[in-house]
Point group: C2
Chain length 230, copies 2
């Protein structure tokens, strides 16, 4: 359902281009659970942004559920994202002037078509998502009134609220203590059991061990891709 | 050299006040190496901001090198910070429109008195700090042209550039893979050997094991404070 073929991404920065991804081949079946690992700067977030239709490759092909999306317009990509993909950003990307609840409501408000929840359904859905990540008592706090790990969890709740078929999570437990991390990983395991495709970036081996397959990046290249011996 | 007595911090948020810290007693001698741990939302960053003179307690006393700073003005606190303290923020707090190098130059430009480096010294110092954290080839990138772990390392370089006597690091390896984490922890170990007081927040037991003493927070209270059996 996800296939990257010879995908490269070059950032053109003044004189020195940065080859963030080089000739990536990656196939992901529906319902898989994959951990992406690699050193700082190896290209993990760049890969996640392309997978999440937030960025286009410089070259190569991206086939998502049968559609060749590498040349889609911004609007076409936005439609796919809203309908199919939940994205947890490495740096959360919360809107600073809105409360946790408002931030989680946004994807519900923007949804179109069959994914869209009715007006009466939207608020309870957002509230439930926040309770699921342990923030039932923080709904009216704005991001700067939340701890780092609480902001991260708002970002996770927001990614789940449209019931996406693909969850892309860039270091979803980076700011969490081990107890709270376990709660989040139990939630992701539950989603995986329901058939959702889960792709997460982590630098933590304990977190990676929850996945069924591990892909390792180094300098923009996949250096290994194998099943997790759990 | 650092002494908190009965320090509390309450955030007044509409109806429900949040008691982020409650009656904290903490003594830190010059040259100690301490890890602060605890669950998400337990008060670690709040404690670090008070220690770093970025915030005042709601009640209680803070004695820093013999001065009672809990009632100092913003300017007086800023002067202490610039002269004595290096702070690595949990969310980096880099200025988005400046390059990595400009960000690291800022504390050098703002330094006053004996800490201040001469104009010719400032640029090489900033460049060295960036090389120390492995970013010699990323000096002219702006934050959104850097990976998460690279931004974190710019924040670390910036905290070190005025040769502070106290380094406060709020999850300094949260966005780093294990290899890069080791490099940063080796750097912190080196600073500790030079006599700098190091206080770091981490939720990672491997990182905490580098410290000589571990303080654990839960719901704004210190629940344990003991030497690390290394
Ligand atoms: N400005 C604020 N207004 C209201 N509540 C706040 C504010 N800042 C923090 N809080 C609350 O205070 C508590 C402690 O926050 P703090 O950032 O110190 O936690 P932490 O231990 O650093 O957590 P984490 O590990 O997630 O970073 C949290 O429950 C948070 O919601
Ligand atoms: N907009 C940009 N312009 C130039 N270079 C960029 C840009 N964005 C990222 N880079 C560079 O591309 C490389 C890959 O970045 P990416 O964010 O994908 O790394 P990462 O594997 O997610 O790292 P981390 O583990 O630190 O988050 C890095 O070396 C980074 O400096
Ligand atoms: Mg990244
Ligand atoms: Mg914190």
């Amino acid at each position: 359902m996800i296939e990257l073929k010879e995908v490269s991404r070059v950032y053109d920065l003044d004189a020195t281009p940065v080859h963030a991804l080089r000739g990536i081949d990656l196939k992901v079946m529906s319902g898989e659970y994959i951990a992406i690992m690699g050193t700082s700067g190896s290209g993990k977030s760049t890969l996640m942004h392309i997978l999440g239709c937030l960025d286009r490759p410089s070259s190569g092909k991206y086939s998502l559920n049968g559609e060749q999306v590498q040349n889609y317009s911004q609007d076409e990509l936005a439609a796919i994202r809203n309908k199919t993909i939940g994205f947890v950003f490495q740096q959360f990307n919360l809107l600073p002037r809105m409360t946790a609840l408002d931030n989680v409501m946004l994807p519900l408000i923007y949804a179109r078509g069959s994914v869209r929840a009715s007006k009466e359904e939207q608020l309870p859905r957002a509230q439930n998502a926040l309770r699921l990540v342990g923030l039932g008592d923080r709904m009216n706090h704005r991001p700067n009134q939340l701890s780092g790990g609480q902001q991260q969890r708002v970002s996770i709740a927001r990614a789940l609220v449209n019931n996406p078929k693909i969850l892309l999570a860039d270091e979803p437990t980076g700011a969490l203590d081990s107890q709270t991390s376990k709660e989040i990983m139990t939630l992701l395991e539950e989603l995986f059991t329901q058939g959702i495709t889960v792709i997460l970036v982590t630098h933590d081996n304990d977190i990676a061990s929850y996945a069924r397959r591990v892909v390792r990046l180094k300098d923009g290249v996949i250096i290994s891709d194998s099943l997790n011996n759990r």
